[in-house]
Amino acid sequence: MWRWMLAGVIAVQAAAQTEADPAAARRIFEAQCALCHGQTGGGGRGPALNRPKLSKAPDDAAIRIIIREGLPPDMPGAWQLHPTEVAALAAYVRSLGTVAPETLPGDKGRGARLYQSKGCAGCHIVAGKGEGFGPELSDIGVRRSAAYLRQTILKPSANLPEGFQYIAATPASGSAVRGIRVNEDSFTIQLKAAGGRFFSFRKAELKDLRRLEKETPMPAYEGQLTPAEVDDLVSYLASLKEKP
């Protein structure tokens, strides 16, 4: 008898613990997740979550694990959250996907042709094709929102990713080298210059080391593309979801 009653109590407690409080979950999301995923889950530095299917989290259990443990190296785990909060948050994240995803105005087929004709492949790799100077774009549609992609195409310097630095390094003898910082420690810095050549310098031996704030080798396409062309290109990039 006692055992049955006890079992009943435990069952009630368990139900109470898994009951999601959407308002509380939303507060947690806005306070801790929105920094990267956007206030409404539309993405930003992190991927958009307002999609019916999350490629790395097919079900609620998987969402809970990712929330708790994170996705190294970019996403920290929220181990400090209570299991009830994690469950509520997972339900909230899933509810974001039931909102109709953004309908993009452009045509992805035309966007794909523009991608080639405007020379994007001269710096970026998609599905194994292109040059590796800039970041790979094979799954950029999962990692960046359409709004972010649009802004980056028009004015890339306004939207630089965390940790990105464009550097001008002047050795004691020889001319200055401009390149993307690929690594740095307290004593040395490694750059990738246009054309893909790597340079390595000891910082103490440089005549000048300038961090070019708000600069990037990627050209701004504002005024270079028509609004319709930008729509097409965004539509194409947003459709890139998987690495080969």
Binding site: R27, A31, Q32, L35, P76, A78, W79, Q80, L81, H82, E85, E162, E184, D185, S186, F187, T188, A204
Partner: protein, 520 residues
């Protein structure tokens, strides 16, 4: 032939009585206790390496383990003793070749709540090596064979107790402290009889009913009050006093259930070595809500303070303030911030922080410097009696602190919140030289990111430390000028040591899962 003779000597005289550790400075070719001496200075009196010749350092040998290493080794008479989590090895000091290995299986249901699966080093006394294990046993190994002589259960790992620290061996006793400050433990410092493994004394860092300080907790909050003791203490043999730092109160970021100062969390304790009786305490962060454990190696030294020679103990605290205290009485002597902080206006005349309102964690998040790992953490500072400066690996990093519900359940996180990084805030760091008696900055060497490596000072006026990007480097102790650096290829989260191989000065540091030994 010479090698053979040395080996024979090593086995005959490998015993390390207490008196040898007390007088460790007389045999600088060895490294006999966690901090090099009981005083917690991480200072090697060896003078062979100097600013003029340190650039000729090269790797002599390396030893790999299948785990990331945070070990500060022990070196005795031609043998180096190292540890990993639940494992230990004795290495030939000339070659790094293992002489014996020991390991203890980790129970399948073991979990680390709030920290990494690491071990920070062994201790030695007489003919035994002492290792603290993750599943919370203190184990005594025969120094010659690695054979287990005894093991003592310190506490139950199943409810969150664990150990990562190097034990501290004093006269006849081995001292340990516990991790578990995020699991609602009640912390303590323990002493065990070095011969038998029976417990000699225990000092609870959270006072129970009827004990002084109990009234700084409300209701039952003391039972889950935290107060871990996870970093090796220091020892004054003249007064038989153990100095030991105490960790954060629990739950970490939600202090609502524990109004009051929450003694002795975030404090330094002075304990009698024979009995564990409290001589005095000093609390750095009363009623902490930012996880600022005072888990540091206390540095013991003497200095002139306003014309009087005084025995002091110094702590560069996780809360970003530097403190010098009278080590006989615990009286506050001097203190000031040594890293950026935004939570206190300063310290009052007694050393208590003048807290700025609104800096506690909140539901929507509160931006505070430093972050939860603090302006420095467990890794050791160094003190040079030549410069009378303390060298601190310093972290410059902010975070957004969140407060959440906390509900105690055994063997789960009892944290009540957490932190998020501040967008656009690029963490940095520095090695800072501080005048030991005042904390005044004398120089700094900037680091690319917030460090996790300790500092070593040497008699040749050098300072060694490491970076999170794998740089191991030497600085001029008087100017901070960089003199030598080596890319180890692994993140450095360990303390350097110095010793001699065949009379020639060497430096050791763990990086990633490799232990490197450098010499000329």
């Amino acid at each position: 032939m010479k090698w053979f003779a040395a080996l024979v000597c090593a086995s005959a005289f490998a015993q390390v009585p207490y008196e040898r550790i007390v007088n460790a400075a007389r045999e600088p070719g060895n490294w006999l206790t966690y901090s090099g001496s009981y005083l917690g200075q991480r200072y090697s009196p060896l003078t062979e390496l100097t600013p003029a010749n340190v650039s000729s350092l090269r790797v002599k040998w390396a030893f790999q383990m299948d785990t990331r290493l945070q070990v500060s080794p022990i070196v005795v008479d031609g043998v180096m003793y190292v540890t990993g989590p639940n494992s230990a090895a004795a290495l030939d000091l000339r070659t790094g070749r293992p002489l014996w290995r020991w390991s203890r299986p980790l129970p399948k249901d073991y979990q680390s709540i709030g920290f990494g699966r690491v071990n920070r080093g062994p201790a030695i006394l007489d003919n035994q090596i002492f290792v603290a294990t993750l599943d919370c046993y203190l184990v005594a190994l025969d120094a010659q064979s690695g054979v287990e002589r005894w093991s003592a259960k310190v506490e139950d790992y199943k409810v969150g107790y664990s150990m990562t620290l190097a034990p501290l061996a004093i006269r006849g006793k081995v001292l340990v402290g516990v991790s578990g400050g995020e699991a609602g433990i009640r912390g303590f410092v323990d002493a065990y009889d070095a011969r038998t493994g029976s417990r000699a004394w225990r000092f609870y860092t959270i006072p129970g009913p009827g004990e002084p300080g109990h009234n700084t907790w409300s209701e039952a909050s003391w039972k889950t009050g935290g107060g871990s003791t996870w970093v090796t203490g220091s020892y004054d043999p003249d007064t038989n006093t153990v100095y030991w730092g105490v960790g954060n109160p629990g739950p970490d970021w939600n202090p609502d259930s524990r109004p009051g100062d929450n003694l002795y969390t975030c404090s330094l304790l002075a304990l009698d070595g024979d009995t564990g009786k409290l001589k005095w305490h000093f609390q750095f962060t009363p009623h902490d809500s930012h996880d600022w454990d005072s888990a540091h190696v206390p540095v013991l030294f003497e200095a002139n303070v306003r014309g009087t020679r005084r025995k002091l103990v110094a702590v560069a605290n996780r809360n970003a303030f530097y403190y010098a205290l009278d080590r006989t009485t615990g009286e506050f002597v001097a203190g000031r911030p040594y890293a950026r902080q935004t939570w206190a206006k300063g310290l009052d005349d007694s050393g208590r922080p003048i807290v700025i309102p609104g800096t506690e964690p909140s539901e929507q998040g509160t931006l505070v410097w430093p972050n939860l790992n603090g302006a420095t953490v467990w890794f050791s500072p160094a003190y040079s009696p030549q410069t009378e400066w303390i060298y601190v690996a310093t972290r410059e990093i902010a975070s957004i602190y969140f407060k959440r519900r906390a509900e105690y359940q055994p063997a789960t996180f009892f944290a009540g919140g957490g932190e998020a990084s501040v967008p656009g805030n690029q963490p940095s760091g520095a090695i800072r030289a501080l005048e030991a008696s005042t904390g005044q900055l004398r120089w700094e060497f900037p680091l690319h990111s917030a460090p996790w490596a300790g500092v070593l000072a040497t008699g040749g006026d050098l300072v060694f430390s490491g970076s999170d990007e794998g740089n191991f480097f030497a600085l001029d102790a008087r100017t901070g000028k960089p003199l030598w650096d080596f890319q180890t290829g692994g993140r450095i989260a360990a303390n350097p040591i110095s010793f001699a191989i065949d009379g020639s000065q060497c430096i050791a540091i763990a990086a990633g899962s490799v232990l490197y030994v450098f010499g000329r």
